[in-house]
Symmetry: C2
Subunit: 66 residues, 2 copies
Amino acid sequence: MKNNVRLNRLKASITQEQLAKKTGVTRQTIGLIEKGQYNPSLQLCVSIAKELNKTLDDLFWEVENE
Amino acid sequence: MKNNVRLNRLKASITQEQLAKKTGVTRQTIGLIEKGQYNPSLQLCVSIAKELNKTLDDLFWEVENE
DNA sequence: GTAGAATGTAATATATAAATTGCATATGCA
DNA sequence: TGCATATGCAATTTATATATTACATTCTAC
């Protein structure tokens, strides 16, 4: 599950831990999602997108082709 | 987790069972997602979107406001 | 009004996302 | 050098998405 979370988190200049706290999960969960090793729930994807001021498509749609 | 899956499935004129088979899950899972009673995985959301020729945002982004 | 298809729903089982804890590594800064 | 912050990673536990099975309900067409 490749995605653009790390790229956009860094653009937002926040740490994994800050994003985790804002989205209500742990730092480890954010780390694994960024690594593409998790298949996160839709709700979590939406939370992450909102915190980064992006949409689902921005972060998770056809990332391979970008 | 309100969404536009049912609306777009009906527009595509396919049954829950057909969509389930195409996305590799059971009819019950599709039914519960349409009812908003599940928090589906990102992979499943992507599969559903592709089968319905929609994007994640079309089906799952800020559905309340549409 | 009956038959079949589509959908709702409920109980139990299984797979896996996510939490928790802990330690290792890397990096920047005093 | 030494300390603090950020991140990686691994083992175990917990919560929940999804499967399976089964039966009920709704709806359409004959």
